[in-house]
């Protein structure tokens, strides 16, 4: 597959650095925009974004992957003037990819904390016609708790370690500070506080306005939070069921897609979603 890639430097202080991937022939398809998941550079964890961008260019979708200011190769601006600088950076990235690719619409891709930024920008920028959210926040419902509980019971019974698991669960309840995994999770929650469900609902509703589409993919990272089909509608009753919202689960994949096979599964889901949108 032939893909033309070039380095782009943009922004008011030319401080933002990115890579434009263009298909061999220009198309009128929307452009994809990738930016930093957390502190990781624009290539994404395990070079995921480079692979996705090139594969998408191979089927006609241009893309820009770039670093937000102060991350990766992009410098902090000398004169920061924006209230939310990273949201402003994303909109500058959209300006740039649409200008260079000739497209008029775009699709944002976010992983983990970047999903919040995707939703916020999609809610205010009419050029965003789609968002791909990888491990966005998920909100437990009573049914999700039940499913999670029975999954744990089934797993424990199958593993044959009933007593060991029961002891671990009890220990975790009695001494949560002794659990390294829980402590690590607390650090992440501190870095990225979870908004109340109604706030997330409003972000999601914003991203779905004007018939825009949203694809949400949950990996094993979210399995304790998101574990059944339609959970999103139970957790966020404000979201109409006729909205262009697709939720997929990849419970075998990890948060950073650290196997090529999982990266391929993700690409398949995205391409299916694009094909359905085109068929509409």
């Amino acid at each position: 597959v032939s893909v033309n890639e070039s380095c782009v430097v943009f922004g008011p202080e030319r401080n933002l650095v990115g890579t434009l991937a263009m298909p061999e022939r220009r198309t009128d398809l929307p452009a994809f925009v990738f930016f930093n998941p957390g502190f990781t550079g624009r290539i994404g964890p395990t070079r995921l974004y480079v692979r996705l961008a090139r594969a998408l260019a191979g089927i006609g979708f241009p893309s820009l992957r770039f670093d937000l200011s102060g991350l990766g190769d992009s410098r902090r601006p000398v004169n920061p003037g924006d209230v939310e600088p990273h949201l402003a950076d994303i909109r500058r990235g959209i300006d740039e990819v649409l200008r260079l690719s000739g497209s008029s619409r775009c699709i944002l891709v976010g992983l983990c904390s970047a999903t919040d930024q995707c939703l916020k920008v999609a809610g205010i920028d009419d050029r965003v016609i789609g968002s791909v959210l990888l491990d966005a926040f998920a909100y437990r419902t009573p049914r999700a708790l039940r499913v999670h509980f029975w999954n744990r019971v089934r797993k424990t019974l199958l593993s044959g370690n009933l007593f060991a698991t029961a002891w671990r669960m009890l220990h975790r309840r009695l001494r949560p500070e002794a659990e390294p995994a829980a402590a690590a999770n607390d650090i992440w929650l501190e870095l990225r506080p979870k908004p109340p469900a109604p706030v997330f609902s409003s972000w999601l509703a914003g991203a779905l306005r004007n018939d825009a589409g949203v694809l949400m993919v949950y990996t094993s990272y979210s399995v304790g939070y998101h574990n059944y089909r339609d959970q999103i509608y139970d957790a966020h009753p404000e979201i109409p069921r006729q909205a262009d919202l697709r939720v997929c689960r990849l419970p075998h994949a990890d948060h950073v897609f650290s196997r090529v096979e999982w990266q391929q599964d993700l690409l398949d889901i995205i391409v299916d979603w694009l094909n359905r949108a085109r068929a509409k």
Partner: protein, 259 residues
């Protein structure tokens, strides 16, 4: 004044992504080429190398950091990697740095597996650097096994269930993936021959190993004079995730007396 320019070096299909931190007017005649680690270490150490490049350029030294072919933002797929191309890339990046900075000499700083590649490239290039700083290189076969062999897994070739979908991975060669980075087995075998215990210090070239391990201390090819042991805690010498200003300062110290 520091100028920063991001560009693609070389011809399409073989282009390297590089960022040059230039000092204008040049205060030193020796520029610094930074050689990335590979794989997940390369992703994690990216910010460390950005901070180091900025510190060097503020100290008046032009610096180039770049991604090897098949890695980072450079052209090529990981599974098509060739060891000799990575060595060529270091030499090409060095030539680019000399041309763009106007510096007659360069010093190479390699981090992790990038240090091993830099050492091998220095041995075969026609215009070697004046100094080689090997920062936490892979020292022994045991280190290599722990970093590359142990976490490696086979890649399941896709059975084109969805023929119309693009395929992310295709290789006719045997390939192993390490934390999501697929590499041909012959590249892994080749990398293993580049451990420090199997290479010698390049003759006539100032080379220094910065190591937090002590595995090389009894090795005959590398003398005590060529090895500087970090006196740091485990957290500080981690080449990924966190940027240790103390380590950056130590690396800067080692380059201070270059012209």
């Amino acid at each position: 004044m520091q100028l920063i320019s991001a560009s693609r070096i070389g011809v399409p299909g073989k282009a390297l992504f590089g960022v040059c931190h230039l000092d204008r007017p040049a205060r030193h005649s020796t520029a610094v080429l930074l050689c990335n680690p590979l794989g997940v270490d390369g992703v994690g150490a990216h910010r460390t190398l950005v901070v180091l490049a900025e510190a060097l350029s503020q100290a008046g030294r032009s610096t180039l950091r770049f991604d090897y072919r098949y890695t980072g933002d450079s052209d090529g797929r990981c599974e098509e990697a060739r060891l000799e191309h990575w060595l060529d890339d270091i030499c090409d990046a060095d030539a680019h740095l000399r041309a763009i900075s106007g510096c007659a000499d360069t010093a190479w700083v390699g981090l992790g597996a990038g240090a091993n590649l830099a050492l091998a490239a220095a041995m075969r290039t026609g215009s070697p650097p004046v100094s080689l700083l090997l920062w936490e290189p892979i020292e022994t076969a045991a280190d290599f096994a722990a970093e590359f062999r142990a976490p490696s897994q086979p890649v399941r070739q896709r059975k084109s269930a969805k023929a119309e979908h693009p395929v992310l991975f295709q290789s006719a060669e045997p390939v192993r993936q390490i934390h999501g980075f697929p590499l041909p087995v012959h590249v892994l075998d080749g990398l293993e021959t580049l451990t420090l215990e199997r290479q010698s210090p390049p003759p006539g070239l100032r080379s220094l190993v910065l190591s937090s391990r002590s595995t090389l201390s009894g090795h005959s090819r590398w003398t005590r004079r060529e090895i500087e042991f970090w006196r740091t805690t485990a957290d500080e010498f981690s080449i990924s995730r966190t940027v240790s200003r103390k380590l950056i300062a130590t690396v800067m110290d080692q380059l201070r007396d270059l012209p």
